[in-house]
Subunit: 146 residues, 2 copies
């Protein structure tokens, strides 16, 4: 199984912001640092802002920063909020499309498995998955920023 | 997150075979019953055969049938065997592609969540998710076959 690209990128944005530790940054900087598309990130940042995980400010001194301390941001919550819902099989997306949808017991089993998955990830904060901010900063080549 | 189509189809094949209760059937029949591509199913059945979940026999009286009783086939095992591996994020597929791969702690967290997911599904057998073979047979319009 695989996440949507959006989830992968959301976690990278948050890890970047946790690495710069309170400094404001831009979508362009994050996109360049990871070598990913700026357009993709815009949608992701909008979703993170709506959920309160990041704050954005327009203008010269503007930019993006974390909306909550990294220790309080739970990975399971982030993934659910950026749209990583349970779409494991066709029946979760197009109800009634599969002929056996009405009586098939796979759906509740998958829903339980899905809950167990996110429960594990709610046990990890952004700070937990970041590891060392200094080592992360070196890898992202943030230079003197941290 | 989403399964590969292959996993979805593998479970449908097994549910069909459990519904016909020991009778031999063909890929064509299963494909027609679910309204899905015969070509897709061929690859899936090959994978199920290699893992012992189905038996195939060539010839006039040939066809496909379950390789084990439905009560012994665990859903988690099926999904793992047909290739539903942990490919949640890019880093599971292309190691070293992401800049922070070396120190990022997301990967072990996702691996634990993935284990929890399959552990739940190992608690369900094919018989469990089938529900009533008679009701399933009606929905699949198997007529007098069961």
């Amino acid at each position: 199984m695989r996440f949507k690209k959006q989830s992968d990128y959301a976690l990278r944005v948050l890890m970047y912001l946790a690495t710069v530790q309170g400094d404001s940054t831009t979508i362009k900087e994050i996109a360049q640092s990871f070598g990913i598309s700026q357009n993709h990130l815009m949608k992701v940042v909008q979703s993170l802002r709506q959920s309160g995980f990041v704050k954005t400010q327009r203008g010269n001194k503007g930019g993006i920063r974390l909306g909550q301390p990294a220790e309080q941001i739970k990975i399971g919550q982030v993934l659910r909020k950026v749209g990583e819902q349970n779409e494991l099989a066709e029946c979760f997306i197009q109800v009634g499309q599969c002929k056996i949808d009405r009586i098939c017991q796979l759906k509740p089993a998958l829903a339980k498995a899905n809950d167990a998955f996110f429960e594990v990830l709610d046990g990890y904060s952004l700070a937990d998955i970041l590891g060392s901010p200094r080592a992360m900063s070196d890898l992202l080549r943030l230079g003197t920023r941290v």
